[in-house]
């Protein structure tokens, strides 16, 4: 097995030069990348969501596109459109911004469900169809979507079934005062991510992704993981538990985390740590809770409590 520790550490260091004081967020981003997953960043504006996506793309020697989602955005604005070419007397496909390795979908909840679903379809199938033609997307392919939890006016919240397509939902959060000071001390003239040099080729990412499949998960850990999933289905606080796709996602994420941490086998710690991040957007909090509380934090707290009740294999 190729030594995976070194390249992963290199990306991590590269990104943390830009995103200060958030090693966990960077680690989870890498987990999503290696697990062939997509990331949903949910946080207030201005904490570095775009910067995170940008610096990841810069570190990877990969193409990067950003789509600003608005209410008048059309599906063809994402996937591309066939245009009649007068010289050739034929329709020609003009690929949309989704033909990139890292795609930042900014404020995904601002656009209509139709446009949302065109993106989400592409995410799950890694290909798009326009005019009966199928076009494969670039590999590696990762969507980093953002949404703003503070604003609700004029938004179309993603339904749970669509949220399921994202491997994990993350918050970045404000940096600590010290770290924030470092950000301010930086020269303001140019975008911080522009400085970054790529440390990994696209092929390296694909190799790392293949290695995730080889990470060993011991039988009792699989059972532990499933009993956590089972607990979400049985809890009174949850009206809809984690699906099998959710369990599969957790398993992949856990293996990726083990690889990111330099192991070729999983530990119970990995599962316990990732469960809230990977599972919280896949459950429906029961209606007995007030609407205000059925938020991201509430779901995360429920998963955390459930995990605390499942015994770890010894």
């Amino acid at each position: 097995m190729m030594n995976s520790t070194q390249p992963i550490r290199a990306i991590h260091e590269n990104i943390s030069r830009v995103i200060k004081g958030k090693p966990q967020v960077i680690e989870l981003t890498l987990v999503a990348l290696l697990a062939r997953g997509h990331l949903l960043l949910e946080d207030v504006p201005g904490v570095g969501k775009t910067t995170l996506a940008h610096s990841l793309a810069r570190s990877l020697d990969c193409s990067f596109k950003r789509i600003q989602f608005t209410s008048d955005l059309l599906p063809s604005d994402i996937v591309g459109v066939s245009i009649f070419n007068r010289q050739k007397q034929a329709f020609e496909f003009m690929p949309g911004p989704i033909f990139a390795n890292i795609v930042l979908a900014d404020e995904i909840n601002r656009t209509t469900p139709k446009t949302q679903s065109s993106l989400l379809e592409a995410m799950s199938e890694a290909q798009i169809s326009v005019d009966n033609q199928t076009y494969p997307l670039n590999q590696p392919f990762m969507v980093i979507a953002t949404q703003n939890p503070a604003e609700y006016h004029g938004t179309f919240p993603l339904p749970e079934s669509q949220l399921d397509r994202f491997l994990m939902r993350l918050r970045i959060g404000y940096p600590s005062p010290d770290e924030e000071k470092k950000v301010l001390d930086r020269p303001q003239s140019l975008h911080p991510a522009e400085d970054l040099q790529p440390v990994l080729a696209a092929q390296d990412v694909l190799d790392l992704q293949a290695q995730v499949d080889k990470v060993f998960m011991e039988e009792s850990l699989t059972e532990y993981l499933l009993s956590i999933v089972q607990a979400t289905r049985q809890s009174e606080l949850v009206s809809l538990g984690v699906s099998t796709r959710g369990a599969l996602a957790l398993s992949r994420a856990v293996k990726a985390l083990a690889l990111v941490r330099g192991r070729n086998y999983c530990l119970p710690d990995d599962i316990k740590e990732l469960a809230p991040t990977v599972l919280s957007h896949r459950i429906m909090v029961a209606r007995t809770q007030s609407l205000r509380q059925r938020s991201f934090e509430q779901a995360e707290r429920i998963i955390q409590d459930l995990v605390e009740s499942v015994p770890v294999p010894v």
Binding site: E219, Y265, K272, V310, P311, V312
Partner: protein
């Protein structure tokens, strides 16, 4: 193997042991045996996670209500069964018990289900105990006890593990435990079982017994014998001559193994022959006087003349339950010693119990055979009293041919004895022994035997001799009994089987009294064609069975009293007795060993090779068990089991150590997170704990075997931690 899985396994073994006990002890309907056996198999395969069966079982999973309905209908069936079908409370109870067992086996999920299964098994093994006194019960009981100790141990262990998780989830959880059955535990449990068994033995011999097996009486079927009733048709012994079931075992304490040969056990004597069947018209019985406790003596029953006796012969006899009250002994019994309410005898010297015994009985007898007096070797006229003429010279319809033959054979001889011997020799040399003789269908079976077919078996020979003797005026009678030929060299006793049933002749000589004669030639094909090794094994087993009967089944309150008395009078005799008993129990083994040595020195190589082969195979199995440790197997698939086991154990010990220190690891806390807790709460131990945890994680979850050095290092780190916690 994880504890919960092991518990399931031992529970099923427990149930199987009691089930086998019931199957062997009671006659159960075939469908019930089949159902229970398949339920056990299915339960067993679910333990082993055979997916195909598990999925099938999942298909037939029924709701709790359905199961309850099943139990209720089973209960209803029990009453129907006990009132109309089997009509017996015990039998129908056993049927119901098995139905309950089947239902439980399909429902083995919660801890209370296990408790129910244990209770059912206990009742079943007790029921089996009450139904039998056979040797096979012993290994089954051993298996039951071993499984029982295991099960209780595992039940307790899983209880510790199941309680906190159940409390946390607020719902009844299936059994869950992550503990493993360690080799240490394996030996401990087996040792515990052995200790329990030892204690049981002590209790068995010491605790006063209130009663003998309650259900045993009248339950088992007595062996059907032939030839020991008041009338015996000619040819009735024939059909049982191929029945190998054991009728009795006879020990001869005064005889050495090399002195043994054909050994006669006398049962009944018959005086009247009507051409088709024999009858005993002198069957009027009188009770024998009990001289000293449990000793019954015959006095002057033999004859009014002082007979010439041979030496006294002592016999210890274990008689299986027969359908006849006749007691057997070598001819002619003088006294019987046994725990009987009374013993009766008729004029011919046959001995009877008041009624047929339904249990195995044990008694000793002293016999003396008559030898021919010198006076009988000289020709003298004999005058017989009226009784003799009426009974022992009685003839069926006179047959001239037979009388002519008799005269012909005995013509040249002078004395009665010589004449009798001549007839005996004539019969045994001119006629062929065969079991294929047809039953007494002809009008004159005797003439057919003597003049036409010239083949027959003991009854034909004996009858012919008696009739011929009577035809020339010599009083004679027919005797039925057993002719023992099978000597068990491991236990030094005769095994007497149904096929040894025999008939012979007693001739009355004027001065000697009744003298035994046997015209039947030795049976040429008596040896059954079994392998010598198999025969050895059977003989050894049978000798163990004799001792089992004597020391366990027949062991009664009186024996206990004897032991107690000995305890009071002095420990030396007790020690001797114990040694004797032990030696007696071990004798088959030593005998086998000696035989092995003997045959080795005498060059009987194949037999030696077999014995040595069996021994080697046994050693091989033990060595394999020690080396391969099959109890570790389920985990072996994921990595080096030995090392993994060791480090996991070490990790658990470390957790216990930390617990003593007051740092508890909650069940839901993963190992690395726990390191951070340790570093926060007891920073000096942080490195040690981290180092052990790292190795543990790698071996336990990484499937990476530890090297010896790493394991050694982990152990040293643990010792450091121990000393750290002491300081």
């Amino acid at each position: 193997m994880p504890c919960d899985q092991a518990l399931r396994l031992t529970s099923i073994v427990l149930a199987s042991a009691s089930f086998v006990g019931l199957v062997l002890g009671a006659s159960l309907p075939g469908w019930l045996i089949f159902l229970t056996a398949s339920a056990l198999l299915v339960a067993l395969s679910r333990t082993g996670n055979v997916t195909a069966i598990t999925s099938v079982v999942r298909l037939v999973t029924l709701s709790p209500t359905t199961w309850n309905v099943l139990v209720l209908s089973g209960f209803l069936g029990f009453w129907i069964d006990s009132l109309w079908i089997s009509g017996d409370l015990l039998t129908s109870g056993i049927h119901f018990l098995l139905v309950l067992m089947i239902i439980k086996l399909f429902n083995l999920q919660h801890r209370r289900d296990y408790v129910h299964l244990f209770a059912i098994s206990l009742v079943a093994i007790l029921a089996a105990a009450s139904l039998t006194s056979e040797l096979w019960y012993f290994p089954i009981f051993l298996a039951y006890m071993l499984a029982g100790v295991w099960t209780l141990l595992l039940f307790q262990l899983t209880k510790d593990a199941a309680v906190p998780s159940a409390a946390m989830r607020r719902e009844p959880e299936p059994l869950e435990s992550n503990r493993d059955v360690t080799p240490k535990m394996f030996w401990m449990a087996n040792g515990l079982a052995a200790a329990t068994f030892g204690l049981t033995l002590v209790i068995f011999f010491v605790i006063p017994r209130v009663s003998a097996g309650f259900y045993q009486k009248g339950y088992g079927e007595n062996i059907r014998t032939s030839g020991f009733s008041n009338t015996v048709d000619l040819g009735s012994i024939g059909p049982i001559k191929r029945d190998r079931s054991v009728v009795m075992r006879v020990e001869l304490p005064d005889r050495q193994a090399h002195e043994v040969g054909r050994f006669y056990l006398r049962g009944l004597a018959f005086d009247r022959y009507d051409g088709r069947s024999w009858a005993n018209q002198l069957s009027h019985r009188r009770s024998l006087s009990e001289d000293s406790p449990e000793t019954f003596t015959l006095r002057g029953s033999q004859s009014h003349k002082p007979p010439h006796h041979g030496p006294a012969l002592r016999q210890h006899i274990q008689l299986e339950p027969l359908d006849t009250p006749v007691l057997f002994a070598a001819p002619f019994a003088e006294s019987i010693n046994g725990r009987f309410p009374a013993i009766q005898a008729d004029v011919t010297g046959a001995l009877y119990l008041p009624f047929p015994s339904s249990t195995r009985i044990e008694y000793s007898a002293v016999s003396r055979s008559n030898t021919v007096a010198p006076a009988d070797l000289q020709p003298r006229p004999a005058a017989y009293p009226e009784l003799f003429i009426r009974h022992f010279l009685q003839m069926p319809v006179q047959s001239e041919r037979i009388a002519a033959l008799a005269r012909d054979v005995a013509e040249s001889k002078q004395t009665i004895y010589e004449k009798a011997v001549a007839i005996q020799d004539h019969l045994s040399s001119h006629y062929r022994y065969s079991l294929d003789a047809p039953l007494a269908a002809q009008a004159h079976p005797l003439e057919e035997f003597l003049f036409d077919r010239k083949t027959g078996y003991c009854e034909h020979y004996a009858t012919a001799m008696v009739v011929m003797l009577r035809a020339i005026g010599i009083p004679a009678r027919l005797v039925t009994g057993f002719l023992a030929t099978e000597w068990n060299e491991y236990g030094n006793y005769y095994v007497v089987r149904q096929q040894d049933a025999h008939a012979w002749v007693e001739v009355h000589l004027p001065h000697s009294g009744w003298v035994m004669m046997d015209p039947t030639p030795a049976d040429g094909d008596s040896a059954v064609g079994t392998l010598p090794a198999w025969h050895t094994v059977q003989s050894m087993l049978d000798s163990v069975r004799l001792r089992w009967n004597r020391f366990f089944v027949q062991y009664s309150a009186t024996d206990q009293l004897a032991v107690m008395r000995d305890l009071q009078t002095g420990s030396a005799s007790v020690r001797l007795r114990t040694l004797d008993s032990l030696a007696a129990l071990l004798r088959p083994l030593t005998a086998a060993f000696e035989t092995g040595i003997d045959s080795m020195t005498s060059g009987d190589l194949p037999h030696v090779v077999k014995v040595v082969g069996i021994l080697l195979a046994g050693c091989g199995v033990v060595a394999w068990l020690v080396w391969a440790r099959p109890w570790n197997w389920p985990r072996r698939s994921t990595g080096a089991a030995g090392d993994e086991q060791a480090i996991v154990q070490l990790y658990r010990r470390m957790l216990r150590q930390l617990e003593r220190r007051g740092i508890h690891k909650p069940a839901a806390m993963p190992p690395l997170q726990f390191i951070r807790i340790i570093q926060a709460q007891w920073s000096t131990a942080g490195t040690a704990v981290a180092s052990i945890t790292e190795l543990y994680c790698r071996a336990r979850f990484g499937g990476v075997p530890l090297t010896r050095e790493e394991l050694h290092r982990a152990q040293e780190t643990f010792h450091q931690l121990t000393s750290l916690s002491r300081s």
